[in-house]
Amino acid sequence: MTSGVAIVGVAQTCYEAAKDHLAYNELVYEVVAKLLRETGVKMADIHSQITASQDMFDGKTISSMSVNEVVGGYLKSEAKVAADGLQAALYGAARILSGSFEYTLITAHAKESESRRPAVTVSMFDPFTQRPLGLHDAISSGLQAERYLHVSGVTEENMAELSRRRHLDAKKNPLAQRAGDFTTKQILESPQMAGPLREMMVSPSSDGACAVLLASAERASAFGKRAVWITGTGNCTDAYWTERDLAEARALELAAAKAYKAAGIRNPAKELDVAEISARCAFEEPMYADALQLFDGDPRAWIRQSAKGEGIAVNPSGGAITGNPTSVAGLTRLAEAYLQVSGQAGEHQVAGARTALAHAADGICGQGHTVVVLRGNSGN
């Protein structure tokens, strides 16, 4: 279904706690300029742009207006999704498949440093019964973590093991924000965020931007191995967080099933070489990996295996837990999956990666999920 669209280039900023020296448009200019330079595509040939940003984080109504100029939107067809950038990529692919556009430029940006996360995320909650409790997304994640740990048997030590591994992997990713050779003790003793979640088990506040260039089959042919095909996509919305079992990710199961079917994948754990999963918190990774059918059985066994670097490569970039902003995290997963299957991931390259998955989560406790499956033009 989606075989006619390829990614022909990606660009990311490095992710940092506070990019005080850059305004939103400068942040996005950095990735757009880099993408055009590296792909050799001219802005004059790009007539379609989809951006992703969140007004409440930007403190700006119609936050895409900050970046409209730098994505080349003047007199062109820019649209903005108020969701993760991976949703923008899905829409961008649809625009190309409709036959109306040959390229679509996808960007996502956020500067979480410009606001206080609890003050912004409280506005996601039911205004009548939940906001008065002072909820924000760290608390809902803490509640979800408690529920998942209770149901799955996963422990705080397991979360620390996984977090340790991802921060260690991030050392090989020059764009990663919080990387290092931490001990599980350091992670377990980092300040408590909410419930069982410690600071080192949750994504830090992050600033950054990401850009992806999509092209039609006809245009992609000129890019050789740098063209990577979107072979399957899926998206699904779940119930509001207080109206479902938070230990399950039913919407992700459905989104993945759709993407796998389109990509012809029957056994994801075997057929995928890399999975870049949007997990802001350590417990989300086994929960989402389970829903994505990346393992069968006890999540504790999978965590131990993955923490040793065995089995399918999950988040070789370090993942969102090491710091990727809201709206950007899922598009970053797509960019990283692209780098892997096109053999451009540098020090964190997974040898021979040919098929990869990128995932994004939106809303409170993962209410919306998006999955994209990519296949490279040939093995690396």
């Binding site: 999704v81 692919a93 998206n235 919305t237």
Partner: protein, 386 residues
């Protein structure tokens, strides 16, 4: 080959200043239920849902997630758009591209805003650049006053012309059951005597703030022909943006480049050379009476400088050569996240022959536009045949 796309049903809430009888979930549900009944489509036949809303106006991040029960999104694909005033047309455009691409066959598009839950003018002030513009922004009115005064300086329009547009809208709205403002007895002098908000814009020159929702069912050609006797086909869709900063575009209302570019591109796509003759009706996003006058020339309904003449001669009135906004338009109803989609829904109603008391006879081709940001345009052509 891309799939052809048609609208087979629409639904709107009763729009009002404050819908205190419903919350966001219930408001959206009202429009969705009506659209599904109108289209004779069950929720399980909907492949995906596209939502447009401007969450800063409610002060609610992801309000659609909270309201998911109201719009049937549970375990379905959905995506949310946010592009300011254009968001309703942006959402229809996305639905169009997804269906044309063959990714989905049937899409439910929704636009909603419950402005009474928040403070819209505060949120509109944050549209401006925080360093250069925010300190001199005063919500929507100041912005449109600047636009209108530039337009007056160009010559050719007077405050009486603007008042006539305001009267036309309110008289049309009085025949539309869903319209927020219904003023069948409004006179030109009432508008010209209404409170001066920011020269030259008076209170009755401006759109209201409304609570409301709209839903539209779109489907691919192979289903549309089976499901609907007279679908409204989406012939062409386009978008053009301009002006990130207020000072970027001189004469920005008189010559709104995005609107000129988008409409010319659109007319070319469907082979329209004389829009005034070839269009049967237009539902345009006229934020203020003055803006509608400027849009007449930007959209090619008349030559520059002749907009006043168009309203004087009654060309755009009901019964005129090219009725503009038979629904009463934005001047009667403005739930921002829904407003541009209401233009599409109303254009579809006209093409489908379902507009009731505000029906224009024999509509074959209709134009719908969205306006947003500081000067952004979405535009589409709907027609009775493809």
């Amino acid at each position: 080959m891309p799939q052809k796309v048609a609208i087979i049903g629409t639904g709107q809430t009763k729009h009002a200043a404050k819908r205190t009888d419903v919350n966001i979930r219930e408001l959206v549900n009202e429009a969705v239920t009506r659209a599904l009944i109108d289209a004779e489509v069950q929720l399980d036949e909907i492949d995906a849902i596209m939502i447009g809303n401007m969450e800063p106006f409610e002060g609610f991040m992801f309000p659609e997630h909270w309201a998911v029960e109201g719009w049937g999104g549970y375990l379905k694909p959905s995506v949310k758009f946010n592009t300011g005033g254009t968001v309703g047309t942006t959402t229809i455009a996305a639905s169009y591209y997804y269906i044309a691409a063959g990714i989905y066959d049937t899409v439910l598009a929704i636009g909603f805003e419950k402005q009474s839950d928040g403070h819209t003018q505060t949120a509109i002030t944050t549209v401006g650049d925080p360093v250069w513009e925010r300190t001199m922004m005063a919500g929507a009115v100041g912005n449109f006053a600047l636009m209108a005064s530039t337009f007056i300086a160009e010559g050719g329009v007077t405050d009486e012309h603007a008042a006539k547009v305001a009267v036309k809208a309110r008289h049309n709205g009085a025949r539309n059951v869903n319209a927020h403002l219904q003023m069948p007895d409004l006179k030109v002098e009432d508008v010209m005597k209404s409170e001066l908000l920011s020269w030259p814009v008076r209170k009755l020159d401006m759109c209201p703030q409304s609570d409301g929702a709209v839903a539209v069912v779109l489907t691919a050609d192979h289903l549309a022909k089976k499901r609907c006797a007279r679908p409204a086909w989406i012939r062409a869709v386009t978008t053009a943006h301009e002006q990130q900063y207020m000072g970027d575009s001189p004469k920005r209302l008189a010559v709104m480049r995005s609107q000129t570019a988008a409409s010319r591109r659109l007319y070319k796509m469907v082979g329209i050379t004389n829009p005034r003759k070839e269009l049967d009706v237009a539902e345009i996003y006229e934020v203020a009476s003055w803006a509608e006058l400027a849009m007449y020339q930007n959209l090619g309904f008349c030559e520059p400088g002749e907009a006043g003449k168009l309203i004087d001669e009654g060309v755009t009135l009901m019964g005129g050569e090219l009725p503009v906004n038979p629904s009463g338009g934005v001047l009667c109803t403005n739930p921002i996240g829904a407003t541009a989609m209401i233009r599409v829904a109303e254009a579809a109603l006209q093409v489908m022959g379902k507009a009731g008391e505000h029906q224009v006879p024999n509509v074959k081709t209709a134009l719908a536009t969205g306006y947003g940001g500081n000067a952004w345009t979405d535009a589409m052509i709907l027609s009775a045949s493809f």
